[in-house]
């Protein structure tokens, strides 16, 4: 688990907000646990179905989940405090007495607020509970505009889903609905469709409890209640995009995604964010090889429930038109009559059939002449599998060749949340955006250690550049990070006679390369990243890397003269066999990944 997450994010809200009842319950559990060696087992009855919840601290929504029974809810969210205000999760509750009789409470209760205790009986499908749920839905729809045809959320809207599942088919209201004005400028990237809001207050609690910036509030009273911001203080915190995911209806919209795609056209692939070394689990929503949206994927081992806005919104480069989609070759020449400064011809496209043997041949030639003058730079943007293949390739050319860790981008300091508006920390850390803006430094370092016993940094490579004859430079940094080589460094590297650059898009150094090979982004490849805390997580290919593009893994495989298409799993198994550090990666890494040590 992430050491910065002092409390498991899934348990934090439960711990904080169950207040007295849960604490008493927990104390009782503890007491009983202490007196019994075998541990105390609590059994809850959901619709007469017994569920053993062990000594877990759950509410009835979670306990019902264990029984495979879904209790509809809006305001409750596992990472946020319990307010029990939407009244969607109303159920009937009772207690099974030791003599087998059941005493039910006369009133319905919200399941989110009711701790699952031993012998609790919970009815989610009784006439009373169903009626209460249907009444709540009717209430929620009284002032809801029902503009699903033009709503971005349609298709993944909880109000739609629950209305179908638990609601009435008609509304009895004939009076005009309230029509509060929309607030398109509630945030730089967030828009509020005020009339669609069901006042679950998840967004308000998120800004208060997770981001800490507390921009959102509820204004007005009664059926005129609205989500609002303080004048001139829009929701622009670095986690703001999460309120859109939290919104169970279409009230809060992501302006970046607004009106772009109907969600039922989207396909979803589990992946890992390449934005920083936290390595958040994400979902990549794509259609026809275009990435349309990035959303967080819950992972208690990595980041918890959320992602930052950098990771969420910085994906445009994946779909960028300026990217390399085929290998290129370059040529340097000395202009006639001029002294010294060499110039470059425009890069010429090559076919893969020509490019692979050419690159392999030239590098092999250089290695043969002077192995120690050949170097490879492994970017921390590469997956572990790719780094492994690349290292194998370079070291295969000459055991004297050197491998360096690519440039490790760092921007500012680690940012921890919740933090107040002045950046001061507020309580236990619930989310961290790391300064190290690459996903796989740890993985590449371990590969380097395996192949040459030490990790040589990028600065070391720049120092050594003067005596290099051939350099294979991998990069693939997202354009957000800007120019990563100074002009001086570019000049230094450009002097190397055989320079192979592998990058996403043209840069000054690629203009001066002998060969340019296209690189792929996180959305286009399979493999795994190892985050700052040695958690190896699997990413899956969502889109294809251009019409004739190949991923780095495929290119390295071809350079190694192995046949076929890249199979990340096969490479990973090979890696696990050969490198002890990665031994645990043998097989599937599962939803949450595998912790390496």
């Amino acid at each position: 688990m992430d050491p910065d997450l002092a409390v498991d994010p899934r348990l934090a809200p439960v711990q904080e907000s169950f207040d007295g009842a849960l604490r008493t319950h927990r104390r009782k559990l503890q007491d009983r646990k202490d007196t019994k060696d075998d541990g105390f087992m609590a059994v809850v009855y959901i619709n007469d179905q017994p569920v053993d919840i062990g000594s877990e601290r759950l509410n009835l929504i979670q306990a019902a989940q264990k029984a495979g029974v879904f209790i509809p809810h809006y305001c409750w969210h596992p990472a946020l405090s319990v307010v029990a205000s939407c009244r969607m999760c109303l159920v009937e509750v009772g207690e099974k007495k030791p003599d087998g009789t059941i005493a039910m409470q006369p009133r319905v209760v919200p399941a989110c607020q009711t701790p699952a205790k031993d012998a609790t009986v919970c009815l989610t499908n009784s006439e009373k509970a169903k009626n209460a749920q249907a009444n709540t839905l009717e209430s929620l729809l009284l002032n809801h505009p029902l503009d699903c045809p033009v709503c971005d959320k349609a298709g993944e809207c909880k109000l739609q889903d629950f209305s179908y599942g638990f609601g009435h088919s008609t509304s009895r209201m004939v009076d005009p609905k309230n029509t509060p004005p929309n607030k398109p400028d509630i945030g730089e990237r967030i828009s509020l469709f005020t009339d669609r809001c069901i006042m679950c207050s998840r967004c308000v609690r998120f800004t208060r409890e997770i981001s800490g910036s507390a921009e959102l509030m509820v204004s007005n009273r009664g059926h005129h209640s609205e989500i609002d911001i303080f004048p001139g203080e829009p929701v622009n915190n670095k986690l703001a995009g999460n309120v859109v995911d939290l919104c169970p209806v279409g009230a809060l919209a992501n302006k970046d995604f607004l009106y772009k795609q109907r969600v039922w056209f989207l396909k979803t692939q589990a992946s890992v964010c390449a934005g920083c070394s936290t390595g958040c689990s994400i979902q990549v929503d794509h259609n026809k090889d275009v990435v349309h949206r990035i959303r967080p994927r819950e992972n208690p081992l990595a980041q918890g429930q959320f992602i930052c806005d950098e990771g969420r919104f910085d994906y445009a480069y994946v779909n960028g038109a300026e990217r390399f989609d085929r290998p290129l070759s370059g040529q340097a020449f000395l202009p006639a009559g001029a002294a010294g400064q060499q110039e470059y011809l425009p890069l010429e496209p090559m076919t893969w059939e020509n490019a692979i043997p050419a690159v392999r041949g030239e590098l092999a030639k250089a290695a043969k002449e002077n192995g120690a003058a050949l170097a490879g730079v492994i970017s921390p943007m590469l997956t572990v599998e790719e780094a492994f293949l690349f290292a194998k390739f370079i070291k295969g050319l000459s055991s004297d060749a050197r491998l360096y860790l690519g440039w490790v981008p760092r921007v500012g300091k680690d940012e921890q949340f919740p933090q107040d508006r002045h950046g001061n920390p507020l309580g236990a850390v619930k989310f961290t955006i790391r300064a190290e803006k690459c996903p796989n430094r740890r993985g590449v370092e371990e590969v380097l250690k395996h192949f040459q016993g030490e990790v040589l940094g990028f600065d070391q490579m720049l120092t050594d550049a003067a005596r290099l004859e051939a350099l294979y430079l991998t990069a693939a940094y997202p354009p957000r990070l800007g120019a990563w080589l100074t002009d001086e460094q570019t000049q230094t590297l450009a002097r190397i006679p055989l320079l192979v650059v592998q990058d996403l898009a043209p840069t000054p150094i690629s203009e001066r390369a002998r060969f340019v090979l296209p690189a792929a982004t996180f959305a286009e490849k399979d493999g795994c990243f190892v985050n700052h805390a040695n958690l190896a997580q699997q990413l899956h290919r969502a889109v294809r890397p251009g019409a004739i593009g190949r991923t780095e893994g495929q290119i390295f495989l071809n350079l190694l003269d192995r046949r076929g298409l890249i199979q990340a799993k096969a490479v990973r198994e090979e890696l696990a066999r050969e490198v002890p550090f990665f031994a645990a990666l043998d097989g599937n890494l599962g939803e949450f990944g595998v912790k390496l040590s």
Binding site: R221, G222, S225
Partner: protein, 444 residues
């Protein structure tokens, strides 16, 4: 029954000086001196418990019992919150107590704090009560100057600070946890329970919330003893094991269509008819009454035929009302349209619902819209059934809301439909319209 000798209103009726010296001259702070001298906090709690004093704020919860819910040997501070956010329409007894005899209330606060070991008392006064705020502040200043507040009161090991806090005009801040939230500077949204305030209340510390009138009664219970209180009012109904009895004097507010709107102190259990005819001077303009609101509008409606119901903690429930409430009787005469009454009530609750729980937020607004439409002559017969269903399904009693506001919003609607349905039906059928402006409906 011989005329009842007022106790709480004794000095007020005599137009006595509200200052400290005059209050002391009339025997004030005798109870405090006695208590600090030779009673332990536990004994004070026991006395109040034995007296059967029930909270005067509306719910009628036994006061002494509430105090016993506080954790024993709590290491941190305990707070007393005094609910002076008297926002139930037609209720004005706390205001009279605070404006004209603040020391009687403050003595009760001191005694309650001694009993509960509270070190700070916050008096949450509704914003509209400026005069009450000033009178209380003046009295508090006098107490500090005379070592009756502050550290080591009267030289004993008892310290207390009292702070006045003015609300900002929200009905919901009279709900005990809404009050606590508001006191903490937050939006007045009632909290989910548990934890109850006695375990975790203001600033997450054990807290007791008591009404002004309850605390005024505490003063006299300690002064005159637990048995004295039991000589006034009505003993428990032996047929109802859950009835804790209705002991003590109660300030009844009489308003609406009566000749002499007033606040009178009478033993619990007086009937509405006695209040209206004897103390309110009868219905105005020689008309007959159509009905009344027995204890603040959230308690429901009573018809004229039910006026013989005794107003104790048990009585109104027998005729379908929610309870005694604040015992503020508002009479409406025979010319009043029940549609206007209901509309006005619904408008109030739609305006005052805090908006936290869906059923109340949307239900109160819906009921208001329906009543508005009905009032404009576009009502439908089925609206009555919808109103009745909504009224019955919202609230803490069916379990669909966090606090009791929605019960209060639903009760008068439910009562009106049960008790005045023919009139409502006639109104709808006849296509009647009310052209009276909203503002005028509001002053009914």
């Amino acid at each position: 029954m011989p005329d009842f000798e007022p106790i709480l209103l004794k000095r007020i009726n005599a137009k006595a000086d509200p200052g400290l010296d005059a209050y002391r001259a009339d025997g004030g702070y005798r109870a405090l001196t006695k208590t600090l001298g030779d009673m332990t906090p536990a004994q004070v709690v026991e006395t109040v418990k034995a007296s059967g004093l029930r909270g005067r704020g509306g719910a009628g919860f036994p006061c002494g019992l509430k105090w016993t819910f506080l954790p024993k040997e709590h290491p941190g501070p305990i707070y007393l919150c005094v609910n002076a956010d008297e926002s139930e329409p037609c209720t004005f007894n706390n205001r009279i107590l605070m404006e004209h005899d603040p020391h009687q209330v403050l003595e009760g606060i001191l005694l309650a704090c001694y009993a509960t070991r509270a070190s700070v008392a916050y008096v949450y006064i509704r914003y509209e009560y400026g005069a009450a705020f000033r009178a209380m502040q003046k009295a508090i200043d006098e107490l500090y100057a005379n070592n009756l507040l502050g550290t080591n009161i009267l030289g004993k090991d008892f310290s207390l600070d009292v702070y006045l806090h003015r609300g900002a005009g929200a009905y919901i801040c009279g709900e005990e946890t809404g009050l606590i939230e508001s006191l903490e500077g937050k939006r007045g949204w009632p909290r989910i329970k548990p934890p109850f305030p006695a375990v975790e209340g203001a600033f997450r510390k054990p807290t007791v919330v008591n009404n002004i009138e309850t605390l005024a009664c505490v003063t006299h219970v300690i002064d005159r003893g637990a048995d004295w209180l039991k000589t006034i009012g009505i003993p428990p109904d032996p047929k109802n094991p859950r009835d804790a009895g209705s002991y003590g004097p109660k300030l009844y507010c009489i308003s609406g269509h009566v000749n002499h709107p007033c606040c009178v102190e009478l033993p619990l259990g007086v009937t509405v008819r006695e209040l209206v005819d004897k103390h309110g001077g009868g219905v105005w303009k020689g008309r007959k009454a159509k009905g009344c609101i027995p204890g603040g509008i959230s308690m429901g409606l009573m018809t004229e035929a039910e006026f013989d119901t005794p107003l104790d903690f048990n009585g109104p429930g027998k005729v379908g009302c929610l309870g005694l409430g604040t015992a503020a009787v508002t009479v409406f005469d025979e010319t009043t349209s029940i549609v206007d009454v209901l509309y006005n009530i619904c408008r109030f609750f739609a305006h005052e619902s805090c908006g936290q729980c869906t059923p109340c937020r949307e239900g109160t607004g819906w009921m208001m819209k329906m009543m508005d439409r009905m009032r404009r002559g576009q009502g439908r017969q089925e609206d009555l059934d919808i109103l009745d269903e909504v009224a019955k399904s919202i609230g803490i009693m069916p379990g669909t809301t966090i606090c009791g506001l929605a019960d209060g919003a639903g009760w008068p609607v439910k009562n009106a439909i049960a008790k005045f349905r023919p009139e409502l039906e006639t109104y709808i059928k006849g296509g009647q319209k009310t052209t009276m402006s909203l503002a005028l409906a509001g002053v009914h």
